[in-house]
Symmetry: C2
Subunit: 254 residues, 2 copies
Amino acid sequence: MECTVQKLGRLAGISTRTLRYYDEIGILKPARINSSGYRIYGSKEVDRLQQILFYRELGLSLDDIKENVMSPDFDGIKALKEHREKLLEKRKLLDKLIANVDNTIAFQEGRVTMTDKEKFEGFKQNLIDENEKKYGKEIREKYGENQVVRSNQKVKNMTQEQYAHVEKLSADIIETLKAAYAAGDPAGELAQKAVDLHRQWLCYFWDSYSKEAHAGIAQMYVCDPRFTEYYDKHQPGLAVFLRDAVNIYTGTKK
Amino acid sequence: MECTVQKLGRLAGISTRTLRYYDEIGILKPARINSSGYRIYGSKEVDRLQQILFYRELGLSLDDIKENVMSPDFDGIKALKEHREKLLEKRKLLDKLIANVDNTIAFQEGRVTMTDKEKFEGFKQNLIDENEKKYGKEIREKYGENQVVRSNQKVKNMTQEQYAHVEKLSADIIETLKAAYAAGDPAGELAQKAVDLHRQWLCYFWDSYSKEAHAGIAQMYVCDPRFTEYYDKHQPGLAVFLRDAVNIYTGTKK
DNA sequence: ATTGACATTGACGTTACGTAAAGGTATATA
DNA sequence: TATATACCTTTACGTAACGTCAATGTCAAT
């Protein structure tokens, strides 16, 4: 039942270097060392190695394995759940990266002329700057620093098509809203369609959509004169109407 | 328009160490070095740094940036698409990791008694050993070392439910297949349902499914007497029937 | 005695910097 | 003019988990 590095390595499918390293960092010490200085492992060490490799395959660091897994009062499920959270975080970051790369490819494949591209970049920067100047502080206060930063990053990464789509959405929202207002029913088909457009519009700026936040924004349109004016200049009462329609859409009644 | 490390660092939001490092690896050299040995950067270097940081944010390594991005005949889109592939690979790995962690948590939360768990572990080890002894060499030759190792790992990480599901699938395949054989049409509904079950069964052992591999396995069932026997013992002619049905399912005709 | 397979320790390389340490330079002020 | 300070320089270790030599010792068989 005793074996030396190479046998154990072959048994477990790892290199001898790995075993020496595990000895070095103290995560798996041999049972004893023979007179020639060879590492001799017993069956207890084999089991321990199995466990180490199991958690290693799940992506835990050797440090985590050493500190958590190997201690006697180890809560495997808790450790794994924490690890899971880390992995999900990583995936979220990866998803963002991929989305950014996609956008960049789309933008570059748009074969925009250099001047157009510059103009477009300028537009985007303007959009961000304007938003910052006008509403930056308020939005920061209401939604926290992160939301603003991410919103700005989303705008920066927009492609020209997306940018055009945002502008079209803005116009469509007003159009549909006006028609719905004429119909008079915030629960009606037209009004709800307008709200859905509004949701799409928000999703261009928001990292994650939630009904609560949507309802909150709608309420802000009524409370904040700058936003009220933006809607009411097209049709007095439009901001209130939009808020009511959003509340119905999101199922938020208060 | 000239500046030294700290100004440029503040301008770009990076540390002076980073700039020195970029100088060291040759990705961004200062325009000149003044009499005191200070690094002096010009506007050309600012532009270059912007580009570097842009691609860095997309997750490219400095090496890739240096080799591809900075060369005059650089194809930005190609580089980004390659990078995108790498990112997708990474995400696939992450997804697998997360799935494994989830399975482990589920398994451990199942509060299996220790003896049951050990029994189950033993089963799994048996399954692996049996497979190895019986078909290991052949599968290795046909599908390469990696497929076998990964298949074994997949089995090792199965939860008890999954294991039960695999066994049920095996039985269902035979059942459905026999009924389909009685009906006589490999393109019929029953036969195709059997093939779909077979595909599900394969996905428990395979890392990635492909129609080609599925068709290949089906062909092997006919060519290899051990596999032929496994199916034909239930009903002579079943192996050939399954192969025909699989070929129709996968659209592989030869 | 030699050979070949195995063992040992030591040390460098990997990525993109962070973080000292030890010391030179430019500038404003006491 | 001495000094405080704010900047600059190079050198070098640390990071995670080993891979890959290099130099050298041990064991079994021929």
